[in-house]
Amino acid sequence: MLELVVFSSLNGVLYGMLLFLLASGLTLIFSMMGVLNFAHASFYMLGAYFGFQISRYIGFWPGLVVAPLLVGVIGALVERYGLRTVHKHGHVAELLFTFGLAFIVEELVQMVWGKIPVDYRIPGALNFSAFTLFDTTFPAYRMFMLLMSIGIFLGLLVLLTRTRVGLIIQAALTHPNIVGTLGHNVPLVFMMVFGVGCGLAALAGVIAGPALVTQPAMAASLGPILFVVVVVGGLGSLSGAFVASLLIGLIQTFAVALNISLADVMAHLGVTLTRESFGGDLWMATVAQVAPIIPYLLLVLVLIFRPHGLMGNRDT
């Protein structure tokens, strides 16, 4: 049991930190520009594919640096020449723009790299087990993913709370109009934030790619979870996104470990439910089986009972 708790916690935190790498950029963009960037996970996918391609020529480590930079530049260009043009038609147009972009990126990726997963390998230097606990090994690469994302998180924290740029971004987060009125070049800040956000997503892609299968469906399967993180965490709150990322990472990992079903709960209350009862499989489904939808349940509940999210200060 202790073993299950320790490893589930480790994996949950790891998954949560990866989510945060994506959610941090998304929440910054969402809060400042009011754009729910549907294509955010596509930049994550681009990061993975760029990382894969670069790793084939010059190795994994250069890819770790080059791929996020490239994707960051692409992100900035998308903001400058795409979003900014669409901006004058309002948020709905922006939303639709990013929605379309996500499909275009997926199609492009399929055309260039094919529909089947690419063979993106863990670098040789990290292909060993970091430690063994209760007879279970923990791969060094996972340790690297964990440390890497914690490192980025700390860097982001310092940038936002200890620098002038961070100050402006923070101000723009909560009061975008006032920052503009004060004479700061808000469009430039937007472009930079969009670019850095996309770069962070790409970085997550580069490090997650070898461990979590680099395939054209990776963006579509991760995208919806990101929205859950942003909404649950709360608009305009990076710390909220951080807490929500960890929460969802842990929920998804631990839910898999739980075999309790509604029927079991009701049995304790003296009510016997079987597959034949009204509702059928609903009673018998274990928490493990419904694990994939738990985040969405959380999303719906948060929107009803706490519309500004766990730590947000504006309504979603």
């Binding site: 084939r56 529909k115 090994t137 469906a217 470990a257 089986q289």
Partner: protein, 418 residues
């Protein structure tokens, strides 16, 4: 972009070759539509299955084709692994004039296709379509949901589980078993059969886990492996296929999980590589109709020539003797019927006896249209003649179940059209 360019060139070359071929042969070709996942979590095995079909069609055509010179032609449709999308693609194939359809990956899709074709044939007499199933093994397909227009070349899940549990029965070291499977009709069938048969054959074995996970959606099985580890299981039974098998084994390798695996499809894409990484030498078992180390000079040569042509970087070789049986029998039925009319082909197929490439007898049972053939239990490890995915490890036969011993009753009430 090297790989991308290569893929593009390859696709362009294939397209050019295909259009040339069809141009040359005109409308004479007998088309067979391949409807399987070519994108998504099942794409890796879907793509490789398509290469199997293409290779078989090429082989048959090179020997002079069928019906005294007509050529076969494979056409691919991507069903994305989904039953709904399968029906869209079947309709598309029918609209394009295809009368023979083959599919294998996923019993959910298989049941949908079989029901669709039955209805279609009922409404369109004279334009019948046949469905050749090379791998979807939900027992329902040849029992309560059987159809005259559906033919299956693989042993159904209950037959495979009976063979696996008979093998497990005598292995005294098995004490605790964990069952993990995909959450859809086939996964449910595997789990149900495993629990029932173990209870009957080895009541002392404790089932410590009974898990179903979403089909072809999971990219990291680590939480499941953690759970298997914590359960104290010494053996795992799984019917997983595609990425769900290779990623499960990969996560097990990463966590250093030391158990014996009793599987249906550990030999699929990426499986052998992951097993090698686990270091479990001859501790992963598979039940199948064939593996590369079944002694047979002609089949070994056939598999070698496929590997040479399509193996590529991954080193993935021939998997499906059953698809070869299917296409050889299809060609035989066309010749026997002296016609490409699906109705006449179905009559020829429905009780065909066939000696396969191994020289072994197989037979199609008329009462449920399922093929019975010898089944092999094999283990994966070192010291074999042929290896898989360039791992140096290969499959070794642990037991053979003769075709007549795999026959189990069917509840199918076949409706033969007049």
């Amino acid at each position: 972009m090297k790989q991308g360019t290569m893929q593009f060139l390859r696709a362009a070359a294939l397209a050019a070759a295909a259009s040339l071929a069809s141009f040359g042969a005109g409308a004479q070709n007998i088309k067979i539509a391949y409807i399987d996942p070519l994108s998504g979590g099942g794409a890796t095995i879907g793509e490789h299955g398509l290469k199997h079909l293409q290779f078989l069609v090429d082989t048959i055509n090179a020997k002079g084709g069928v019906l005294g010179g007509q050529k076969l032609e494979a056409v691919a449709y991507d069903n994305k692994g989904s039953p709904q999308e399968s029906l869209v693609q079947v309709q598309k194939a029918i609209d394009a004039g295809v009368r023979f359809i083959t599919q294998g990956n996923g019993s959910g899709a298989a049941i949908a296709i079989s029901e669709f074709i039955s209805k279609y044939n009922e409404r369109n007499p004279g334009k019948e379509v046949l469905y050749f199933n090379y791998a979807a093994v939900d027992p329902a397909l040849t029992n309560e949901k059987c159809s005259y227009w559906h033919f299956r070349w693989d042993a159904n899940s209950d037959i495979k589980m009976a063979a696996l549990t008979n093998f497990m029965k005598d292995r005294k070291e098995i004490k605790k078993v964990y069952i993990i499977g995909q959450d859809y009709s086939f996964g449910h069938a595997v789990r149900g059969a495993a629990v029932a048969m173990l209870k009957q054959k080895r009541p002392d074995i404790q089932v410590v886990g009974d898990e179903l996970h979403p089909l072809l959606k999971i990219t990291d099985f680590t939480p499941y492996i953690t759970k298997i580890k914590a359960s104290g299981a010494d053996s795992v039974i799984t019917g997983n296929w595609g990425n769900d098998m290779s990623l499960l084994l990969k996560a097990a390798a990463d966590a250093g999980l030391q158990v014996n695996w009793y599987t249906y499809y550990a030999g699929g894409a990426g499986g052998p590589t992951a097993i090698k990484q686990t270091g479990l030498d001859h501790r992963v078992f598979q039940i199948s109709e064939w593996h590369t180390n079944v002694p047979s000079p002609s089949m070994e040569a056939f598999a070698d020539s496929f590997l040479k042509k399509y193996g590529g970087d991954s080193g993935q070789g021939w998997w499906y003797l059953r698809m070869k049986n299917q296409m050889d029998m299809f060609a035989g039925a066309l010749n026997q019927a002296k016609s490409a009319d699906p109705k006449k082909v179905a009559v020829a197929l429905s009780q065909m006896k066939f000696k396969n490439e191994l020289g072994a007898e197989t037979f199609m049972r008329a009462s449920d249209h399922s093929l019975f053939q010898d089944m092999y239990i094999s283990s994966f490890g070192s010291g074999t003649k042929h290896d898989e995915e360039k791992t140096g490890w290969g499959w070794k036969t642990m037991g053979v179940i003769k075709a007549q011993d795999t026959v189990i009753p069917t509840s199918c009430k076949m409706v033969t059209p007049s």
